[in-house]
Symmetry: C2
Subunit: 223 residues, 2 copies
Amino acid sequence: MRDNQSRPDLFEELARVGKALGNGKRLELIDLLAQGARGVVELAREAGLTVTTTSAHLQTLKHAGLVTGNRDGTTIRYRIASGGVAALYSQLLEVAATQLADVDIAARRYLGPEDTEAIDRTELLRRVRAGEAIVVDVRPAMEFTAGHIPGALSIPLDELRSRLDELPSELEVVAYCRGIYCTFSHDAVRLLTATGRRAVRLADGILEWQVAGNPVTTDEATH
Amino acid sequence: MRDNQSRPDLFEELARVGKALGNGKRLELIDLLAQGARGVVELAREAGLTVTTTSAHLQTLKHAGLVTGNRDGTTIRYRIASGGVAALYSQLLEVAATQLADVDIAARRYLGPEDTEAIDRTELLRRVRAGEAIVVDVRPAMEFTAGHIPGALSIPLDELRSRLDELPSELEVVAYCRGIYCTFSHDAVRLLTATGRRAVRLADGILEWQVAGNPVTTDEATH
DNA sequence: CTCCAGTTCCCGTGTTCCTTGGAATACTGT
DNA sequence: ACAGTATTCCAAGGAACACGGGAACTGGAG
């Protein structure tokens, strides 16, 4: 028997990654960081947490190897440690979505009524190649520059109502945002269809897009 | 603002999956269940836990949607809830292996010295197709019947020393077992090379094999 | 109907985790 | 060197979790 102690030790180490994923606030932080690098104060504001709590969670995530922090001037920009982490988070979302009824209930409540039409990634590509549709990224501009679908137009949800004239009226709009549990694209499609446009949303988002191996355009304006 | 409460609620639900992965004993149970269905007492024995503790952990996993239990006569056979759960666990292992130095240290201690040659899945297929090698499954027989690499020969590690004559002496042996953190194939290769045979091991195991989408043969002898 | 192995529920104890406020540290720009 | 901002460290109260023992429950076999 080699089971002196090394086997439990190994699994306890592995569990550190699981523990890091075992807190809703930390998942929110991962969700945000998957969209691009951010500092602690910005993360705290976006996640609705105090700065100290956010910092503590980031330390936990860092210790679990899920995020890394690089100094950039006066702030430390945290980011996802690797593409594998994004894949891990995406897979967790999929398992939760398919196996847990309570997640479905909570998701429905958060995302709102199912009044918007959704298409998948291959259908998006087909419609764009056929010249039928234009892809619009409705996330905040900073997340667009950090990485977006090639050829997409950036119109943050905040500005969508005032920038409707930038959309060619003869084309259908395919709106996308962060991922499967992001409300931006739902709200964008509601707003667009309310103005009489043809609009659908990508069923998931940039997270699943890049985890699936699709190309991503980066505006390398990183200071 | 729709951020009344639904967003934190959603992520707290999602975190239930992470919490379930945040305990070494539960990861061991998932690791075992990924190899085939088992009852509580069997799991408790294999994981070195009391039955009550094992049962409690299984309830946690079930509540998180990671395992399911079907009654089979007097026992309840637990199994992985879906292929997505296996993919999630596999991805967690990969992230932990690539991001955490402490995991490497613990793995080295558990797996023993790096004195065995490893090949990857495509190289295994190449050698088998070329008629150079025979694939040997060194896991317990029950796990072999639950699913194995097509064409593999089942010789559990326990019986390997006494069944050496079943191996064609002119072929190289490729031993495989559960996954990246399983000792069976390491020990098998050590034993085989000590007897003068040419033997290598698959770098990972059946878990990664099936998550990658490779075919698996099942001896449908399920009760 | 009654035994029985397998399994789960209940509960008390010890441990770990989450959150927050206040203080300390690190770095930038002037 | 100094002011100012961003970030982390420290300590403590409260909440949640892990574990084991004993009792209760379930379905199948006799």
